[in-house]
């Protein structure tokens, strides 16, 4: 199949995760001829790059995509990884998405009148293209990792499965977003003492005034806030994921909860020198900032609840204990004395655009776009943090973004001549 002339099609969607499929639904609904290319299977990242205990941060009722709403019997529960794989595959079936699996895109070029998409199973020529290949293809590891002593094992969240794969002994978890706190919790509970390096983070209670925090943010419109309404979209797009975990107990997993089971908090990792990890003295301020920002969110929720006459229906407003930080957190940690056996780099993820031969990357390696409309004719982006709305990177955020961007895409198709010859 690799040989032969390219197939012509209006639109190629790259990636059959929930974002690419939501876009496929919107395109199919409006008669746009398209193909969804998937390097492996539907929901591949969920099958191959997630740890065992992971559940979605959003409750089941929120798992809605265009043409599909959750109809199970546990609306307040949180999907496990197998649940998510089933859910996304079910969606692909329900919408009869034109997916070509086991097809890796090797190159995308712009050729004046459209895009040439080369794969390991043939080529396409298309006027429009949707990049839905995911935001978390590669674990971002800071350059200082290279200075860690060779005796230390290093793991990223993409290859971590469960604590049993780690050596016995202490673990330094670097990063306190959703990933970092979840891994710190289960690794510490496995008997491997965890030190958690904490930089800027987003603190959130799982449940507030009797309802899930996602319910409040959804209802109060926080999640619908648009990219062109926020003060500083670059900053908003770089905010790390909230300290949340989806669990049957709906428990809150914040830094106080971790300290409560014996996890040791330490400042942001600033360097590794001569076998000693160095940490910033800014832990107290980072915790204070997160507490203040959480209270600002709770203020927004309380105001919205009052304005909408909910105060009689839910428990009264309250505030959570401020984050406890010891008086003088250590600034250094010896990595050579055997106390720390493993470093887990929970320092974020980035997309892989190694196949993208269109000059749309900025100097930080991110695609230049305006709310998903990429800086190249007929190219659109899906599934990135705060792409068009605060909810963009969540499953339920894909619908509105796909509807908006398919509008742009169809307008572009209508306004340009089709490929000739």
């Amino acid at each position: 199949m690799p040989s032969g002339s390219p197939l012509k099609i209006d639109t190629v969607v790259i990636g059959a995760g929930h974002s690419g499929l939501a876009m496929s639904y919107c395109l199919g609904d409006r008669g746009v001829e398209h193909v969804v290319l998937e390097r492996s299977d539907v929901a591949n990242s969920w099958k191959t790059q997630r740890w065992d205990s992971l559940r979605l941060l959003t409750p089941n009722w929120q798992s809605r995509l265009p043409g599909l709403t959750y109809d199970g019997d546990d609306p307040d529960g949180f999907m496990t990884v197998p649940d998510v794989i089933n859910f996304v595959n079910h969606y692909a079936d329900v919408i009869s998405a034109p997916i070509q699996t086991a097809t890796s895109v090797t190159s995308v070029c712009y050729e004046g009148d459209g895009y040439q998409v080369d794969t390991d199973r043939g080529s396409w020529k298309c006027r429009t293209i949707v990049v839905a290949s995911g935001a978390c293809n590669i674990a971002s590891i800071p350059a200082i990792a290279a200075s860690a002593p060779s005796s230390i094992a290093m793991v990223t969240p993409l290859d971590y499965r469960n604590p049993d794969q780690l050596n016995k002994g202490g673990v330094l978890v670097v990063g306190a977003s959703a990933t970092g706190i979840q891994l710190a919790d289960e690794i510490h509970r496995s008997g491997r003492p965890v030190t958690l390096s904490v930089g800027e983070h987003v603190r959130m209670p799982r449940v507030y005034r009797g309802r899930d925090i996602q319910w409040w943010m959804d209802a109060a419109g926080v999640l619908d806030e648009r990219y062109d309404q926020v003060d500083d979209i670059n900053r908003a797009r770089n905010v790390s994921s909230p300290q949340l975990v989806g669990s049957p107990e709906r428990s809150t997993l914040d830094l106080n909860a971790l300290t409560g089971i014996g996890v040791k908090l330490i400042g942001r990792l600033a360097g590794i020198r001569e076998g000693t990890a160095q940490f910033s003295g800014s832990l107290r301020n980072n915790c204070a900032l997160a507490d203040l920002k959480m209270n600002r969110l709770l203020n927004t929720i309380d105001e919205w609840a009052s304005e909408n006459d909910l105060d009689d229906q839910v428990p009264s407003p309250h505030r959570f204990t401020e984050t406890t930080v010891e008086d003088s957190p250590p600034l250094g940690l010896d990595l050579t004395n055997g106390q720390i056996q493993t470093i887990v780099w929970a320092t974020g993820f980035r997309p892989d655009y190694s196949w993208l031969d269109v000059p749309v990357l900025d100097r930080k390696g991110k695609i230049r776009h305006d709310g998903g409309v990429v800086d190249s004719p007929g190219m659109y982006l899906m599934g990135m943090t705060f792409l068009r709305r605060r909810k963009s990177s969540f499953i339920h955020g894909a619908g509105d973004d796909a509807r908006d961007l398919s509008d742009y895409l169809i307008a572009y198709l209508n306004n340009t001549a089709s490929i000739t010859g």
Binding site: S280, N285, A288, L292, S328
Partner: protein, 184 residues
């Protein structure tokens, strides 16, 4: 809420404009700050600040600024100026306070008064070489702000927190920095 215009003397529009410009042209954001120090006598030295590099060119302060540093008479010195470690506190205090004013202006909070007291604890067994387990520098710094502003206590705390997040000197003190000292 009043319609009174908030005026803390910070040109936020200029700062936002500069931010936008330097986002487009990041090479202009490369600055080099300089100091020149001359030994006077004993522990007394005089440091002058005049030129710096930024926006792609050599720049100058409006006038030369000079700083005497010395040790107090307690150490059998002549106390011609603050001790170097106290000058570090000066840097931290003035950096954070400038930040408070800038953030307040940006958030449209009128400041009426801002004062900070700083304390840096130090076990001088370190610098005297008595105990090698004791570091030379501060074992901790405590900054206490007293702020009167037309804002809630929570908003004031947020100002102070944000100013730490954006402060150069706070970063310099809380994070390690490679220091190269050579003799020419």
């Amino acid at each position: 809420m009043t319609d009174k215009k908030v005026e803390n003397g910070v040109d936020v529009e200029f700062l936002l404009g500069a931010r936008e410009m330097l986002t487009e042209a990041p090479e202009g954001a490369q600055f080099t700050w300089r100091a020149k120090c001359d030994w006077v006598n004993g522990t007394h030295s005089k440091t002058s600040i005049e030129g710096y590099f930024g926006l792609g060119d050599e720049q100058n302060h409006k006038t030369k600024h000079e700083f005497d540093a010395d040790h107090p008479e307690l150490f059998s010195s002549e106390d011609h100026g603050a001790t170097p470690v106290e000058i570090v506190l000066v840097g931290l205090a003035s950096c954070l306070t400038a930040g408070v004013a800038a953030v307040a202006q940006h958030r449209e909070i009128q400041l009426n008064s801002v004062s900070a007291t700083l304390e840096g604890g130090m076990d001088i067994q370190g610098i005297l070489g008595i105990d090698s387990d004791v570091r030379n520098g501060f074992d901790g710094i405590k900054v206490t702000y007293n702020i009167d502003a037309d804002a809630s206590q929570e908003d004031i705390e947020a100002l102070v927190a944000q100013s730490q997040k954006r402060s150069a000197v706070y970063d310099i003190i809380t994070n390690p920095t490679n220091v190269t000292v050579e003799v020419s």
